[in-house]
C-alpha cells in the first residue's frame, strides 16, 4: 500500500523545509524594516505617533499569530483582494515580526543609561545625532543576541502558514502523513527539520550574547 520510500519522503520534506526557510527569511528581513519604522514612531516625541506604534505593538503581541494570518488572508479576500497564501503568510508574519522586534529593540534603547543621553546632550548633539551616534550603536550591539533569538520564534511561527494552505514544512508533513499513514515518523521528521533550522540559531544567539555583551 505504501508506495513512498524514505528517500521520497525526505525529498518532499526538504522541499517544504526550503519554503519554511524562505518564508522565515522574508518575514525576518521585511519585519526588521517594519520594526525599525515602528521603533522610530515609538521613540518619537509626538504623542500621536507613539500611540500608533503602541497600539500596533499591543495588537500584534496580544493576538495569536494564527488569527493574524486568518485576518490578513480572509480579510483581504473579503475586501475583494485575492492574495495567494504565500503572500498572506509573508505579510502576516512580517507584521508580527515588526511588532516584536520594535519592542525588543525599544527595550535595548531604554537599557542605555541616562548618562549617555546627558553626556551627549552636554556636547551639543541634537536628538537625532544622539540617537545616530551614541544610543543606537550601543543599543544595536545589545540587540543582536535577542534579535537572533527571536528569529527562532519566527521560524517556528511559520508553521501556522500551513493552515491557510501554504505548502511549507508542516503542510508538506501533513500531506505526507495522510498519504503514508505514518504520522509519527513524518511529524518526527518535520520536527527534526525545524530543529535543524532553529538549533544553530539558538547556539549562535548564545555565542553572540557571550561575545557582544561586553560594553563595546
Amino acid at each position: 500500500m505504501n508506495d513512498f520510500t524514505l528517500g521520497d519522503i525526505l525529498h518532499a520534506l526538504l522541499g517544504g523545509l526550503q519554503w519554511t526557510a524562505i518564508l522565515s527569511l522574508t518575514a525576518f528581513v521585511l519585519g526588521s524594516c517594519g520594526g525599525l519604522i515602528i521603533l522610530a514612531l515609538r521613540l518619537a516625541h509626538r504623542p500621536v505617533l507613539v500611540w500608533l506604534a503602541k497600539t500596533f505593538i499591543e495588537v500584534f503581541q496580544g493576538t495569536p499569530l494564527l488569527m493574524q494570518l486568518f485576518i490578513v488572508f480572509f480579510g483581504l479576500s473579503l475586501g475583494g483582494v485575492e492574495i495567494p497564501p504565500w503572500l498572506a503568510a509573508a505579510l502576516g508574519l512580517t507584521l508580527y515580526t515588526s511588532a516584536y522586534l520594535a519592542e525588543i529593540w525599544r527595550g535595548c534603547v531604554n537599557a542605555i543609561p541616562n548618562a549617555q543621553w546627558e553626556g551627549s546632550a552636554a556636547l551639543a548633539l541634537n536628538r537625532y545625532q544622539q540617537m545616530r551616534h551614541v544610543i543606537l550603536p550601543q543599543a544595536l550591539r545589545m540587540a543582536i543576541a535577542p534579535t537572533v533569538g527571536f528569529l527562532v520564534q519566527v521560524v517556528k511561527g511559520t508553521s501556522v502558514a500551513s493552515i491557510i494552505g501554504f505548502v511549507e514544512l508542516t503542510k508538506t508533513g501533513g500531506m505526507l502523513a495522510n498519504a503514508t499513514f505514518e504520522p509519527f515518523l513524518i511529524y518526527g521528521l518535520v520536527a527534526a527539520g525545524y530543529f535543524l533550522l532553529c538549533y544553530p540559531l539558538s547556539l549562535y544567539s548564545r555565542h553572540l550574547e557571550r561575545t557582544l555583551h561586553v560594553a563595546r
Binding site: 548618562a115 549617555q116 546627558e118 546632550a121 552636554a122 556636547l123 536628538r127 550601543q138 563595546r216
Partner: protein, 243 residues
C-alpha cells in the same frame, strides 16, 4: 564683563522647592566653586546652566544671550558655549578615546577629521594621556577616564566648563591627577564653575566660593575670607565638618 548672569532663579521638583531665588554672576576667567550639603541645590543650579535642568522662574544669560526657551535649537546653541564634565565620566563605551573626543566637533560643527585628529592628540597630551588615543574607555582607570572626559568637553571649545563633582566617583589615589588638570585649566584662564567636595582644592584654585544652603546662596566670597571667617552658623558648621 560678566559671562554668566543668573538672576532670581527658582526651580521646583514637584512639591520640593529646590532653588529659591538664586543670583550669581560669573566673569570671564572666574573659577567659581559651589559648596554645600547634599540636597542644597548646588548640582541642580550647575545643571540649569547648560539646560540639563529646566527652571521655573528667573533668567540665565550667557555672553549676553538670554536662555529662555527650551526648544532644541536654543539648547544646542547654549551647549555649544558650555561644556560639562560629569561625576560618572559619561564616556561613550562604543568609541575609542580619540573618537570620544572627536565625535561631537565632527558631528555638530562639521569640522574636518584631519584637524580634529591633531586637536584630539594635543588635548590628550594636555591631560597627560598622549598614548591613549586608540584605547577604549573601559581599559582606563577612573582618573584617566575623567581626564578623557575633560579633553572631550574642551574639544568643543566652550566658553565655560561646568564640573559636577568630578572626583567624587574616583578612588582617593586618583583624585589628584584629575584636580591637577583642572588646576592647570584654571591657570590658563578657563572659566570654570564647579561643584566639589574637595575643600582644600576649592580654597586653592577658585577665586569665588558659593555656599549653598536650602536652595539659596547662603554666603559667598573669596575663599580666603569664606573659609577662615565664615559669617553664618550654617557655614561655620559646614566648614568645621568638612575641613
Amino acid at each position: 564683563m560678566s559671562l554668566v548672569n543668573i538672576t532670581g532663579l527658582h526651580k521646583h521638583y514637584g512639591p520640593n522647592h529646590v532653588l529659591k531665588g538664586v543670583d550669581l554672576t560669573v566673569k570671564q576667567g572666574d573659577v567659581v566653586t559651589l559648596i554645600g550639603r547634599s540636597g542644597s541645590g548646588k548640582s541642580t543650579l550647575l545643571r540649569t546652566i547648560n539646560g540639563l535642568e529646566s527652571f521655573d522662574e528667573g533668567s540665565i544669560t550667557l555672553a549676553g544671550q538670554t536662555i529662555g526657551s527650551r526648544d532644541a535649537k536654543t539648547l544646542q546653541q547654549l551647549r555649544l558655549q558650555v561644556g560639562m564634565v560629569f561625576q560618572q565620566f559619561n564616556l561613550f563605551p562604543h568609541l575609542t578615546v580619540g573618537e570620544n573626543i572627536m565625535m561631537s566637533p565632527r558631528v555638530v560643527k562639521g569640522e574636518s577629521p584631519h584637524v580634529l585628529r591633531e586637536e584630539a592628540h594635543a588635548l590628550l597630551a594636555k591631560v597627560g594621556l598622549a598614548d591613549k588615543f586608540d584605547a577604549w574607555p573601559d581599559q582606563l582607570s577612573g582618573g584617566q577616564q575623567q581626564r578623557v572626559a575633560i579633553a572631550r568637553a574642551l574639544a568643543m571649545k566652550p566658553q565655560v566648563l561646568l564640573c559636577d563633582e568630578i572626583t567624587s566617583a574616583l578612588d582617593p589615589e586618583l583624585v589628584n591627577e584629575v584636580l591637577a588638570v583642572v588646576r592647570q585649566l584654571a591657570q590658563e584662564g578657563m572659566t570654570l564653575i564647579m561643584v566639589t567636595h574637595e575643600m582644600r582644592f576649592a580654597r586653592d584654585v577658585s577665586n569665588h566660593v558659593v555656599f549653598m544652603h536650602q536652595g539659596k546662596i547662603h554666603e559667598a566670597g573669596h575663599p580666603s575670607d569664606l573659609f577662615s571667617r565664615p559669617q553664618t552658623p550654617e557655614l561655620q558648621n559646614f566648614v568645621s565638618a568638612v575641613m
